[in-house]
Symmetry: C2
């Protein structure tokens, strides 16, 4: 199982100083107001064991019931807990497109069988035609392609739909979702706010399911400052409005410069032929990008745009590579 | 299971302003150096997924191998993970004295059967005579009585011994422990440093077992500042040396004033007859103490001493209570 555990994009060691285009974070972060909420939180006392204020604030923001909010320490922690709650040995778990590696690992730890279906009309139809499957996972928008699916189209699925919306805040205009009892929306706003070290995460779910999720979490598993930052989150929408349009423009420009496929988000993929070789060659020049082999796309790399100055360094390094012409064609 | 979940001593809501003698924390905390380490930690980037520096620092401090260190978000999170790793349905799990409620809950969630044995020579012999039991738990020193058992006496136990050493830092002179392969020492220094909101925790265990414990933890489950504070911990021994002797003196005085049983720690128990009634009467006066019914001691309360000014308020309130004379006798 450790094969899963080591395919993430983040730094692999404490002294890693590569210029990092593999981490899908807001290049205009961190959000100073959330940093302040984190630093102002009391450290001496136990957190409220029910984390009432944070859950109420998030619920009011999303028009959801506070009982339907479960807090987590990063999306990976929430996804592992969801797998423990929902996946029994030999259960079939569907994924529209390759899942986040931690979810695949969590399903394997539960003894479930993961079936990855393509993110197209055929894959969607195949999901809806499997009434025996109890869980359907999708990252939405999808990592790494940016593909976005209207969740309302999954209402007919008989089991639980887990929508991993880590990259939803980066979208300019996501569609409205009318919640239904089988839908769980996993939110991990650390990326959008440029605060990956905080591990901000929460799930919006039907109250009974959310309650069971909370029961599976040990007492006081959320440090007080993490709960305080989650509580402050609803007041931070203007930070995203101020920064993300710029990030999208930078990403669009970089995608054009590298021959990548624009997504409308801050990251995109580029067809390069042998992604592992391209990632290794850039790494030798002090730059990290994400080889998409672990997403089932061995001919693509994923690039999360940074500031224009950093992006220029990537373009310069990129021009030294031998990327076959046909690799970047869209056909 | 919620019966377990609501018997903790911490505040039960966000607006609870009782004078709290139920929380077993250092009255001279918080430790400013750990607060600084927390606030200085980077928030923008992913933590190192292996938390190498924190594990190496803790290992060097304890004379342990870094592979034998597993970090947690509070002792409760580590104990739940240990139960998942070690307890299979119908397993017998022994506890010398009533366990921390979260461990009992974790054993129940795994389908294990918990057997609580007394913390005396008879209980110790009964543990060692049960070779079929795979796990033995004890808090050491014991919460709430302060009873301390030389762990070396448990070497002959056939399974895994989980020593929950949350209160060990408060002891003036603990015995040396020579590690053996079946021993897991769970450390939660948040209490000793007066930093309950941080959820500092780690386990020292045989490397293979610690590795499995780490595998059961989702990726990046430790926020960066929590790892930074754990890394800084070995340099903070002098804070304990500066503060805890004073805390012990205050506790000794308060125990004498209330007719309690001194423990050499900062907390103690008092026999009061009907502990629930005494706790309720004090609560009506704005003071919280810990009713020990959930520890199987319905005639005792646990008091964690605070500063002398706070302690005087407890003594004054205590004098208004009708506590039967025989209740506080030591016979």
């Amino acid at each position: 199982m450790s094969a899963f555990a080591f395919t993430h994009g983040g730094p692999q060691g404490p002294d890693d100083a590569l210029l990092d285009f593999s981490v899908n974070t807001n290049p205009l972060g961190p959000n100073p107001a959330l940093v302040r909420a984190w630093h102002d939180a009391p450290l001496a006392d136990y957190p409220d064991p029910h984390y009432t204020r944070a859950r109420e604030a998030l619920a009011a923001w999303h028009g959801w019931h506070p009982d339907g909010v479960a807090l987590g320490v990063g999306a990976s922690e929430l996804l592992h807990r969801l797998a423990r709650l929902l996946v029994r040995p030999s259960d079939v778990v569907l994924s529209l497109g390759a899942p986040f590696g931690e979810f695949a690992l969590a399903v394997a730890q539960q003894g479930g069988e993961l079936r990855v279906l393509p993110r197209d009309e055929g894959g969607l139809r195949a999901c809806l035609a499997q009434p025996a499957a109890r869980v359907l996972y999708l990252s939405n928008p999808h990592n790494p392609t940016g593909h976005y699916l209207d969740l309302n189209r999954l209402r007919a699925f008989a089991g639980v739909v887990i929508a991993d919306e880590a990259y939803l805040p980066f979208m300019a205009a996501p569609l409205a979702v009318s919640p239904w009892p089988g839908l769980v929306r996993v939110q991990s706003p650390s990326k959008a706010h440029g605060l990956l070290g905080m591990r901000l995460a929460y799930a919006l779910a039907e109250p009974n399911l959310a309650r069971e999720l909370r029961t599976l979490q040990p007492a006081w598993a959320i440090p007080s400052p993490l709960a305080a930052a989650l509580e402050a989150l609803p007041k931070q929408g203007d930070f995203l409005a101020r920064t993300l349009p710029t990030a999208r423009v930078w990403a669009k420009q970089l995608a054009q410069d590298l021959g990548g496929e624009e997504t409308g988000l801050h990251f995109f993929t580029v067809r390069v032929g042998d992604a592992a070789a391209v990632a290794a060659a850039l790494r030798a020049q002090g730059i990290r990008i994400r080889d998409c082999a672990s997403f089932g796309l061995p001919d693509r790399v994923r690039v999360a745009a940074r500031t224009p100055a950093d992006n220029r360094k990537l373009i310069e390094a990129w021009q030294t590579l031998q990327i076959p012409e046909r690799a970047t064609s869209r056909s």
